[in-house]
């Protein structure tokens, strides 16, 4: 974003200075929750509500997720299992949950 600075002559804008603005890409103003990935893979997920792209770098990695995307995330699970009671194993756990 650029900012124009007025000169002594109010009738003319002559100088343009760049202005650095730091933006937190995932700071949507909504509360977020940390999710930890339980699968041994690199995972890219697009938030179902916000459209934010989240990336986990492997099992145990933690990412802040906008709370609006949490319900859909928590439904993500391996649903077909060959052992262990055929219980769907979730992709994510809530950190501290």
């Amino acid at each position: 974003m650029a900012k124009r600075v007025d000169t002594s002559d109010d009738s003319e804008w002559v100088k343009v200075e760049p202005e650095v603005i730091e933006i937190e890409l995932k700071d949507t103003g909504w509360p977020s929750t940390q999710l930890v990935l339980t699968k041994d893979l690199k995972l890219n997920v697009t938030g179902a509500v916000t459209g934010i792209k989240y990336t986990w770098d492997g099992a145990g990695s933690v990412v802040d997720v906008d709370n609006r995307d949490i319900p859909a995330m928590m439904h993500k699970a391996s649903r077909t299992t060959s052992c262990c009671g055929t219980i769907p194993t979730p992709y994510f756990l809530i950190v501290g949950g």
Binding site: V36, L37, T38, K39, D40, L41, K42, L43, N44, V45, T46, G58, A59, G60, S78, T80, T81, S82, C83, C84, L93
Partner: protein
């Protein structure tokens, strides 16, 4: 007199039970960086697994042709005057060989095929065949329940394994695909006691072991 009739030796005898094992165990694999569930147990044994978020336990699914073997070096003590008086043996490694018929999910299969880490972006999963990571070791735990009613089971646990050998994927018509040549070689783990350096075997049977 009974010993004469049956040929049974006299004295202290330890006979075997009429319990037989059949079928393959379930095989679980976990990164060697994880610690076993029992680390160690009250008897000093290291075994079983506890999946963590960082080190999930991976199950190898539909298996066939499972066998366990070992490699040892043997050298006879040959005395030129009397012949072989003994054979010196040392264990080199233990090997679990199997054929895998479950291919999914790919994050499990890629470990068997020594592929790269899986990247998942819905609806796809991908991994590469590149150079093999020789620094990757796995724990292997293979329990087999032989009495479902009473929950009696045996298990093998190997501390430090690698997938070795070249895989072959058979793709027959009318039969399930198979990954053959899957070999988990258990190496000596010098962080474990010498008596269980490669691994251990156990049995849990509350009706017999009391």
């Amino acid at each position: 007199m009974s010993s004469l009739i049956t040929g049974t030796p006299i004295g202290n005898l330890d006979t075997q039970e009429d319990i037989y094992l059949e079928g393959a165990p379930t095989i679980f694999v976990q990164d060697y960086s994880a610690t076993p569930l029992f680390h160690p147990d009250a008897d000093g044994y290291y075994w079983n697994m506890s999946g963590t978020v960082a080190y999930p336990v991976l199950e190898l699914g539909c298996l066939t042709a499972v066998s366990l073997t070992e490699n040892i070096v043997m050298n006879d003590v040959l005395c030129d005057n009397v012949g072989v008086k003994a054979t010196v043996q040392q264990r080199n490694f233990v090997e679990l060989q199997l054929t895998l018929q479950s291919f999914f999910p790919l994050q499990n299969l890629r470990t068997v095929l020594k592929g790269s880490v899986v990247t998942e972006t819905a609806p796809t999963q991908k991994f590469g065949f590149g150079s093999i990571n020789n620094a990757q070791f796995w724990m292997v735990y293979a329990p087999k329940v032989y009495d479902e009613d009473y929950g009696d089971y045996i298990w093998f646990h190997f501390h430090k394994c690698q997938y070795i050998n070249a895989f072959t994927i058979n793709m027959p018509f009318g039969s399930p695909w198979q990954v053959t040549g899957v070999t988990l070689r258990a190496f000596a783990d010098t962080t474990k006691p010498a008596a269980q350096r490669f691994g251990m075997m156990g049995r849990a049977d509350a009706s017999v072991i009391v």
